[in-house]
Amino acid sequence: MAEMECVFERPKSLLPVVTNYCPGCTHGIVERLVAECIDEFDREGETVGVVPVGCSVMAYDFFGCDMIEAAHGRAPAVATAVKRVFPDYLVFAYQGDGDLASIGMAETIHAATRGENITVIFINNAIYGMTGGQMAPTSLPHQVTQTSPYGRNPAYAGYPIRVCELLSSLDGVAYLERVTVDSPKNVRKAKKAIKRGFQNQVDKVGYSLIEVVSTCPTNWGMTPEESFAWMRENMLPYYPLGVYKDVQADGFANVAEAAAARAAACPMVSGYAEEA
């Protein structure tokens, strides 16, 4: 029998362990994509990942690179320090919506505006999964959760945060893209976006965040297929897929150039640009 070529295998940067994720959860897909990217850059030995509090809290056991478990919401601060210690490493933070957009919003915004050369993978499934399905900062209006049992009423509970749109105004941000992983085509797009996030670190372009609109079959109370259908019907109109910022597509090498051009009328900025 002829030798068969292996065409699909576990990425080297993903350890051969059983994850704690529920059946149908998208964390497994996204973490695989991150690991594929690390493999393709061949930089596992010079990569440090920072994981959040939430369902992916134990992702430090899944990746083969060095890993740090951060306090709830603080992954961008931890990743900032790691990148300052090792400017040439690949440093990524992997966070959910409660971690990134609620308790950790200050750290998120300031890591972004500092233009930290890190890649943030943001899983937005509109719910707190690990603690059993509470309302998240990204839960939709009228979405029923454990702590919005009559549906999220914006009159009392406010409105969801669109993270890519929010961050797109910040000068330190190099790249923002919202993707999903509900089909092979979208998985490929997500992979491309995540890889771009890592490439931006190599090229020292600035802060990159890839938002993955995801599902939570367990806490949504649906099958995986129903979850994707609900996500397409309800979440994607609220959180449209696409690129929200790309300084390179705008013709700049990095966030410093883009920020200087944007503030060219400010003498404090243009004066320094001429000096340089």
Binding site: E46, D66, A70, R74, A81
Partner: protein
């Protein structure tokens, strides 16, 4: 830099930390530690180090967590309300066995309190620097020279025992200027190996994980027991205390930090009046110099603090009923005067004579 220079206490802390090899400082503005961060922002770039003004004290301590995880000497500084915000991160540092140095230039509390010098964070520093079962070494300098020496030593203690270390100063020590001789630049080649650090596997070892999560209760129990064995070592090896005129003393004053300076003046005045009084000055507040206090043959103890009476409980525990333990303090940022302390000593001496 071995000659004597005139420096503010806050600047001495910063300079000594850099001489100890700290190249990663993360801070957030707060009075009265301001000069420390300003000094770092000026001098870190000259030493190719990182000064980063974080968005909050919470972010700053988590940046310390990240730099410490990568095996680097790192520090943050704040004052009382800011330290409260850092305690979450300090608990995580302790839980992940990460070495780091945290400076508290105390002001009056609770709440926003005052911006004047205080020692009102004694309980926080020695008992409650975050949730969970842990201690951490706490140093209490009382001169600008000690600000430098203890900040310098703190990094070695942190690395040796894999623990966060606190320098508990106050606004008076931070703001005052005194002559100081700086220690020599620390060579870092003899540090304990940091084989646990997340500094990249380079494809040569299994991955390192820096983490304080133990979902298995037995594993966490074992981890805490291992950590407390380290604490026992610290208690054996790292107690620091200064004794002054204690041998023949009928009255022993116990005071730390700025309060000990004032107490010493009062003791000198009392000795001039023929009162046999001495001073025990804990330099480590944890581990506490229980044995030095217990070994005193004093008829009475007087605890002097710039708070409502916090360390007095540790003195009572050390004395264990063998003699009365009295307290004198000023709170809220008021600094006690030497003549006030002298009056307390004289009154106590009269009561002993009755």
């Amino acid at each position: 830099m071995s000659e004597k220079v005139l420096m503010k206490g806050n600047e001495a802390l910063a300079e000594a930390a850099m001489l100890a090899g700290c190249r990663f400082f993360f801070g957030y503005p707060i009075t009265p530690q301001t000069e420390l961060a300003a000094y770092m922002s000026k001098h870190m770039p000259k030493r190719e180090g990182v000064y980063l003004q974080a968005e909050s004290e919470v972010a700053a301590i988590n940046m310390v967590y990240g730099a410490a995880a990568c095996g680097k000497r790192t520090m943050t500084s704040s004052s009382s309300p800011g330290i409260s915000l850092k305690t979450e991160g300090i608990s995580y540092l302790a839980g992940a066995d990460l070495p780091a140095v945290i400076i508290n230039v105390q002001r009056g509390g609770p709440g926003l309190g005052s911006i004047q010098p205080s020692q009102s964070d004694y309980w926080q520093a020695t008992r409650a620097m975050g949730h969970g079962d842990f201690f951490l070494p706490v140093y209490a300098p009382s001169t600008v020279q000690e600000m430098a020496d203890l900040a310098y030593a703190a990094f070695d203690v942190a690395d040796t025992y894999r623990t966060p270390v606190v320098i508990l100063a106050d606004g008076m020590l931070g703001q005052m200027m005194e002559p100081v001789v700086m220690p020599a630049e620390r060579a870092l080649d003899d540090l304990p190996a940091k084989s646990w650090a997340t500094d990249g596997t380079h494809g040569k070892r299994p991955h390192n994980v820096v983490n304080s999560l133990f979902l298995d209760a037995d594993a966490l129990n074992a981890k805490n027991r291992e950590r407390f064995e380290r604490y026992a070592q610290i208690e054996r090896n790292e107690v620091r205390v200064e004794e002054y005129l204690v041998d023949d003393a009928d009255i022993v004053v116990v005071a730390f930090g700025a309060a000990a300076r004032i107490a010493r003046s009062a003791i000198n005045d009392a000795r001039a009046k023929g009162i046999k009084v001495g001073l025990i000055r804990p330099i480590t507040l944890w581990p506490y110099p229980k044995e030095a206090i217990a070994a005193c043959n004093a008829q009475a103890f007087l605890v002097v603090e710039m708070n409502m009476g916090q360390m007095v409980e540790d003195v009572q525990l050390a004395v264990n009923g063998a003699a009365p333990v009295e307290f004198f303090g000023r709170a809220g940022g008021v600094i006690p005067r030497p003549d006030e302390v002298l009056a307390q000593i004289e009154a106590l001496n009269e009561r002993l004579g009755d």
